[in-house]
């Protein structure tokens, strides 16, 4: 309500995942994982550029990823990567009009065909696969 002129909901409204079902949760996770992966990508470029300091610099930087914190961050990156990929495929197909239902005369109570079970399954699958991949990553990294 800060901006009286526009009465826009603002970022708080945009990221609120509680009102419009699992699709809005997927929307939020997609944005967060996108930003997270971008941050990781920048960090990754920075990390690999340490090779310019020679093998010692490279090894020093690499050691950071071998800590518990490093492993936890990598596990989150794996989850973000898997969620963003699987959900991204769902969203890309949806953007092309694939699997969003067929136009028809609407009947009360007007369940929107675009918010169908296939898309919901896609979202749940993305979440489950991300969780499995993250757990596998944790098992590998901490199981050494």
């Amino acid at each position: 309500m800060e901006n009286h002129d526009e009465n826009k909901e603002g970022i708080g409204g945009m990221i609120n995942p509680r009102r419009y079902g699992i699709e809005r949760v997927a929307y939020l996770l997609m944005r967060l994982s996108g930003l997270g992966l971008l941050a990781y990508f920048i960090g990754h470029i920075y990390e690999t550029s340490s090779i310019l300091k020679g093998q010692v610099g490279w090894n020093e930087f690499l050691a950071l990823t071998q800590t518990n914190e490093g492993h936890a961050i990598l596990a989150i990156v794996i989850a973000m990567c898997v969620f963003h990929t699987v959900n991204g495929i769902r969203v890309m197909l949806g953007h092309g009009g694939v699997g969003v239902g067929k136009p028809a005369r609407p009947d009360y109570p007007y369940i929107p065909a675009s918010q169908n079970a296939r898309h919901k399954m896609g979202i749940y699958s993305a979440i489950v696969l991300a969780a499995i991949a993250m757990m596998y990553g944790l098992a590998v990294m901490f199981g050494e």
Partner: protein
């Protein structure tokens, strides 16, 4: 001669009476002189069939007539009475108190629309964007100039767009949209769904014109298929479906 009271008199003198009641919280705000939104609370009796609009009108009749609210048809047809009801955009005349499952009902002006006063919001932007996508049939001839008396369509052809022509321009979709929450230049789900309504009409020849209009930095590409527009639409328009079909043309999924 017996005196028959007018409907207005009758309504004004018959307060709702019921064993059940709710607390109705109404947002009050006048941008001309108020610094922030305030809430007024009223206890309103209701029946199973009482709508939120009827509860607001009850307040106007018996407690405070200065509450600003826009309404007309009271039957989900004119698109005037959209507002936030317990945090979600809904039509006040189409939302029964009993279906909200809450003892407290909070009504606020629709998000993403400038406030005129209290629950009434400005619709200028919605009408502008609606107009921008050319919401009419585009073709060189007309039913008057062509040899055919009228442009006939098969039932299948009608089926392609009839759902989208149900739009009553209530703006609930624009209010629920996460992009509209931060980008006031976004064309919005209402206008995009209407662009598809005409593109899908077999009588229309304006597809390329409309695709050019929406292929803009604040156009269709700002839709991320969150689908909230479709979830709040009170007429089953499913704007998200229309928008994705429209984008399908631009991405080459459809021709």
């Amino acid at each position: 001669m017996t005196l028959v009271p007018s409907i207005a008199e009758e309504q004004a003198s018959t307060p709702l009476s019921s064993a059940k009641s709710i607390t109705l919280r109404i947002a009050r705000f006048n941008p001309e002189h108020d610094g922030e939104r305030k809430f007024m609370e009223f206890t309103i009796p209701y029946e199973k069939w009482t709508t939120v609009l009827e509860a607001i009108l009850e307040v106007k009749k018996h407690f405070d007539h200065s509450v600003a609210v826009r309404y007309s048809c009271r039957q989900a047809t004119c698109g005037s009475c959209g507002m936030m009801i317990n945090g979600k955009p809904r039509l006040a005349c189409f939302t029964k108190i009993s279906e909200l499952d809450s003892d407290v009902i909070t009504v606020e002006p629709m998000n993403n629309f400038p406030i005129i006063r209290d629950l009434a919001v400005k619709f200028e932007r919605l009408f502008d964007t609606h107009h921008k996508i050319k919401p009419y049939l585009i073709r060189d001839d007309s039913e008057i100039t062509s040899n055919e008396k009228e442009f006939l369509q098969t039932p299948e052809e009608v089926e392609q767009y009839i759902q989208f022509s149900n739009c009553i321009k209530c703006g609930l979709c624009n209010s629920a949209c996460p992009t509209m929450a931060t980008d006031s230049s976004f064309v919005g789900p209402q206008a995009l769904a209407q662009a598809y309504r005409y593109v899908a009409d077999s009588r229309d020849k304006g597809k390329d014109t409309r695709l050019k209009i929406i292929d803009d930095s604040h156009g269709i590409w700002r839709c991320h298929f969150a689908g909230s527009c479709s979830q709040v639409c009170p007429k089953g328009v499913d704007p998200a479906m229309g928008i994705q079909f429209l984008r399908g043309y631009l991405l080459g999924f459809r021709s």
